[in-house]
Structures are given as C-alpha cells and as structure tokens.
C-alpha cells in the first residue's frame, strides 16, 4: 500500500526559485528518504533522514522531518532547469521484520523553466 503522499502533485517554477515538496505518512517510521526520477529512468537516492533527526542538508537540498505530524519536506534552493524531474518520498517502517523495505509515495512532478 502507498504510505507517503506528496504535495503538490505538480510544481512549476522559474530557474533560481526555491522548490518545496511535502510528504505525509501514516505509520511509525525508522527513516524517510527522498528519491529523484528523470523521465523514463530509474530512481536515484537523494537524501535520508532518520526518525530521531529533524533536519538534514546536502548541497542545495534541505530535508525536514516532523514525526509528531508524520510529515517531511524537501526544499531545493536556487533551482536549475536540470532539477526538472519527479521527486518521491519513501518511508522505512519501524520495528518488525521489514528488512528495510521502503514504501513510496505518488511523487511530485517538478518543472523548472529556464
């Protein structure tokens, strides 16, 4: 079943602007990850944040996690046309024998206009 729900479904911005995508989930998690997918290609891992972390940075990416609200956000600063892609959040469930299985959301389609 799909746990993560991204918002918005589609986002269109101009180059240089910031892009913010949100993800909500339902169950307790061990970690939350963001992936990027260029059209017709496989997904590429961007960043991982663990359930005991609140914020993480990687280059122009900033991820926040609020476990009380079961939500996360991905901020891409100073966007570029090359950032155009679909972005997915994925959650790893806490406990059990999940062996690191990830549940992906529906994704946000980001279009950055030059």
């Amino acid at each position: 079943s799909q746990q993560g729900e991204e918002d918005p479904q589609a986002l269109s911005i101009q180059e240089g602007e910031n892009a913010t995508m949100n993800c909500s989930y339902k169950t307790s998690i061990n970690n939350l990850q963001w992936y990027r997918q260029n059209s017709g290609r496989g997904l590429v891992h961007l960043i991982l944040i663990r359930s005991n972390e609140r914020e993480k940075h990687s280059g122009r990416l900033r991820v926040t996690l609020d476990t009380s609200k079961k939500s996360s956000s991905l901020l891409i600063t100073a966007s570029r046309a090359a950032d155009t892609a679909s972005y997915f959040c994925a959650t790893g469930e806490a406990g059990g024998t999940s062996y690191g299985k990830l549940t992906f959301g529906q994704g946000t389609i980001l279009t950055v206009h030059p």
Partner: protein, 116 residues
C-alpha cells in the same frame, strides 16, 4: 563499485504470452533485491523482495512471480500476461541492514512492458 543491470529495457508482448525480466547486481554480495512496478509514471508499488537465494517474499497477490537462482540475480516472470501487467518495472538492491534497518535503494534503469 556496485552496478545494477536490468533488461530488456523495452518489451511489447501479447496478452497470454510469458514474461521474463532479469536483473543482476555486480560488485556486492548477499544484497537485498527488490522488484517494483510503476504505473503511469507515478508511485512505486513493491511487488517482491528477496533477502537471499531462493527466499522470495510477495507483497501483493498478482499474476507475476519472482525467483532468485543466484546471489546477485533476480528474475521477474509470468506464465500468461494480462493487459493490467503493463507498466514500468524497476529492480533495486540494497545492502542488508536487518530488521528495521535503513536501506538505501539503488535502482536499475527500468523495463517498460506493454501488453497488447
């Protein structure tokens, strides 16, 4: 370095025909292996995962099956394809992290299946 290969990249098959998609991983041993399906370019649905040779877990009942005949080989199969099997199939691997571990997935380039 680790690499993942998935083939074929594109496949057009008639309804009722068999299917075999193959995925191999290089540069690592005893990986967790996964098959996901993506419909209409949106969310991914986990179909199967494997933590070892011959160990397959199915996430959803369906017309498909998976096998892991070798440590770094994962195969997705069907005896008779349905129209609803059309989609983009993605193989992925991760290092073994154990129960509740945080695995980062590395995906193959995907196989686009069209069933006519």
């Amino acid at each position: 370095s680790q690499t993942i290969h998935q083939w074929p990249a594109t496949l057009v098959q008639p309804v009722g025909s068999p299917l075999s998609l193959e995925c191999t991983v290089e540069g690592t041993s005893n990986p967790n292996l996964y098959w996901y399906r993506q419909a209409a370019g949106r969310g991914l649905q986990l179909l199967f995962y494997s933590v070892g040779i011959g160990q397959i877990s199915s996430e959803v009942p369906q017309n498909l099956s998976a096998s892991r005949p070798q440590d770094r080989q994962f195969i997705l199969s069907s005896k008779k394809l349905l129209l609803s099997d059309s989609g983009f199939y993605l193989c992925a691997w991760s290092s073994v992290a154990g129960p509740g571990g945080a695995n980062v997935l590395t995906f193959g380039a995907g196989s686009r299946l069209t069933v006519l």
